[in-house]
Amino acid sequence: MSRKIVVGFDGSDASRRALDFAITRAQAQGDNILIAHVLEWSPYSFLTAAEVEERHRRRKEELQRAETAILTPVVRHVEDAGIPCATTLRYGHIAETLCRIAKDEGAAMIFIGRMGNSGFASRIFGSVAATLAQVSPVPVVIVP
């Protein structure tokens, strides 16, 4: 039976490496790929009144931009490799949202790239890869 692999994809070089690695695994095992793009968003951040008013329009723009600039180009890339492919676009905390996607879609694995920020920055801001490794409900492949 073909399994579903979630690939966390943000258009960065690291996420491209993760996707390419996921493609080779999927080819070998006959899996299909769900490309997940998460826009960082916290419902507990603070906004000015003007930002509140613009939010709905901006959200639409952000979704559209992500769809055309990030997701659409890579779908072809994956399908050219002969892998069945779907995409999902969400707002939220990146690691938590990837976990929710994996759970909702019944995925077998999550593939993500690693930014490779050493030490200080990730200690302060946290790292998606590290968080995911801690909390993911399914096996996680972290591609360097």
Binding site: P43, E54, R55, H56, R57
Partner: protein
């Protein structure tokens, strides 16, 4: 429309004066100050006295009565909704009822904090000290009561604000009392909606220049000068005006978002410090509460007796949380939500946080640290020499009294307080620039140039507010903010059945489980 045109004449005068002040520089400011004061005092004094005039034979301003009576009517009409829906409001803010698929839209939490940043300000710090200084500890009781009642007013106006907002093709929205006055009245077949809406919009624009701008800049400068020593106000004004300009005209989101992050933090530090000070004096808590309760009903030496305490408490609550003024309805109506009533539920937390929590903390710290001097034998409060307030340990009143009370426990807190006042003033300005703009576009239509004109005038008023001692101008614009409550509350009375129908429909669906939490 006569109201609108006279209003515009005053505004033109004021902005001409602003340009003159700028051109003449600080040296010539004194003479111009006096001229502007004179012009304003002569032409607008009657309006200020009208708004702030007292009920015959009392020192109780009728406008405060207007707000408190309305709050009581809404409390009864909606069956103590502020208590019934309190838990549900918290659940909404926590996001329990938010559809995860709507992530990326403005959350209830964000709507609440945005509206709060417009109301939490100097009133919570300085105004409370004034109220306690005159009305004694008993004023706290009435302030809390008025805050609790005000929750029902906010609930009513914010629900209507969302229900009758305008949505445009590009996804932006405009809302507020002017829209429920026009659309809501038309729907119910009531006359006069347009007239009330124009009246409200004019008051709102002038109020946004005054209480929401000049007064804030003025007080921020006073606080800074208090710590650094005296220096010309136009320096503070110019710096603040540039920062405001960068945010509202330049769209410099980073400054705004930094402030918006620091303001809640400052509020938390303020309340946290107050809690610590109260904890350090825990043996005084019982005494403080008995002073608050007895002071609320007996004459224990305060100005005007128990009635004086009531007047001061009600005034403070009304001036601080803006319930019934209509400003919060503008802030909340920008939020996209499937159910207008949910914004109403969320908004009823504002007077609670603003008045019942933050104002009460200020009051408790002043009372508990023993700033007010009592006669050791009779237990009555001693009046100061002028007889217009209670004698304090340091002889100070207003914001310095708050500063004394906090500094008696932590000396460094006076500096935090200055920072808090300046930041609160700034965030209040940003919020009011938005309220004023919405009223402006309602009157003159949407459009980039029209909006830019408003924003530039707004920035000019920041400089005037900080640099000049324009008593009558500030009085006038303060009166404008309260004048907003006249058309707004009339509209709320006429439209409250609509809110009730919405409320009943929503609550029954909540009960049957049709509306449920998302996992």
């Amino acid at each position: 429309m006569t109201g609108a045109s006279t209003g515009m004449t005053y505004m033109t005068k004021a902005s001409l004066a602003a340009l003159a002040v700028l051109a003449a520089g600080p040296a010539g400011a004194q003479g111009i100050d006096e001229t502007v004061n004179q012009v304003f005092a002569n032409s607008t004094g009657w309006f200020v006295s009208l708004i702030f005039s007292n009920f015959p034979g009392t020192t109780f301003p009728w406008i405060v009565g207007w707000l408190v009576v309305a709050a009581s009517v809404f409390t009864v009409y909606f069956g103590l909704i502020q208590i019934r829906a309190f838990g549900h409001a918290l659940a909404l803010v926590r996001g329990d009822y938010s559809d995860p698929n709507d992530a990326g839209e403005v959350s209830h939490f964000q709507a609440l904090t945005t509206a709060l940043s417009g109301t939490v300000g100097l009133g919570n710090i300085a105004g409370v000290a004034v109220a306690i200084g005159i009305g004694g500890p008993g004023a706290t009781f009435w302030m809390i009561l008025a805050g609790l009642l005000g929750m029902a007013s906010k609930f009513t106006e914010c629900t209507l604000g969302v229900k009758y907002r305008n949505e445009y093709a590009d996804g932006t929205v405009s809302g507020g009392p002017m829209y429920y006055m026009t659309k809501g009245f038309a729907e119910r077949g009531l006359p006069g909606g347009k007239f009330l809406a124009v009246l409200f919009a004019v008051f709102c624009i002038l109020g946004s220049f005054g209480g929401g701008n000049m007064f804030q800049a003025n007080q921020a400068h006073a606080q800074i000068a208090n710590v650094t020593g005296a220096f010309p106000g136009w320096i503070t004004g110019l710096v603040m005006a540039i920062v405001v300009f960068l945010v509202i005209v330049g769209g410099l989101k980073s400054i705004a978002s930094v402030t918006e992050k620091i303001v809640p933090f400052m509020a938390a530090v303020y309340v946290g410090t107050a809690v610590i000070i109260i904890g350090m004096n825990f043996d005084m808590i019982g005494t403080a509460f008995s002073q608050i309760l007895t002071g609320a009903f007996t004459n224990d030496g305060v100005v005007g007796g128990a009635i004086g305490a009531l007047i001061q408490g009600f005034r403070r609550a009304a001036f601080s949380n803006e319930a019934g003024i209509g400003s919060a309805a503008i802030a909340h109506s920008a939020v996209r939500t499937k159910e207008p009533i949910t914004e109403g539920f969320v908004s009823l937390l504002e007077p609670f946080i603003d008045t019942v929590v933050i104002c009460t903390m200020t009051a408790l710290v002043i009372i508990i640290t023993g700033q007010l001097i009592q006669d050791p034998t009779t237990g009555l409060f001693l009046l100061n020499e002028a007889g217009d307030g209670i004698q304090t340990v340091t002889g100070n009143s207003g914001v310095t009294l708050t500063s004394d009370a906090f500094s008696s426990a932590f000396g460094w807190f006076r500096y935090i307080l200055v920072l808090a006042v300046v930041l609160f003033a700034f965030s209040t300005m940003i919020s009011w620039s938005y309220y004023g703009l919405k009223a402006w576009t309602f009157l003159f239509g949407e459009g980039q140039t029209k909006e830019l004109i408003f924003k530039i005038i707004f920035c000019l008023f920041v400089i005037i507010g900080a640099s000049a001692n324009l008593g009558p101008v500030i009085d006038f614009s303060d009166a404008m903010i309260f004048a907003m409550a006249i058309p707004n509350i009339i509209a709320l009375y006429l439209l409250m059945p609509i809110v009730k129908a919405e409320m009943n429909r929503y609550l029954s669906r909540l009960k049957t489980g049709e509306i449920r939490k998302f996992e």
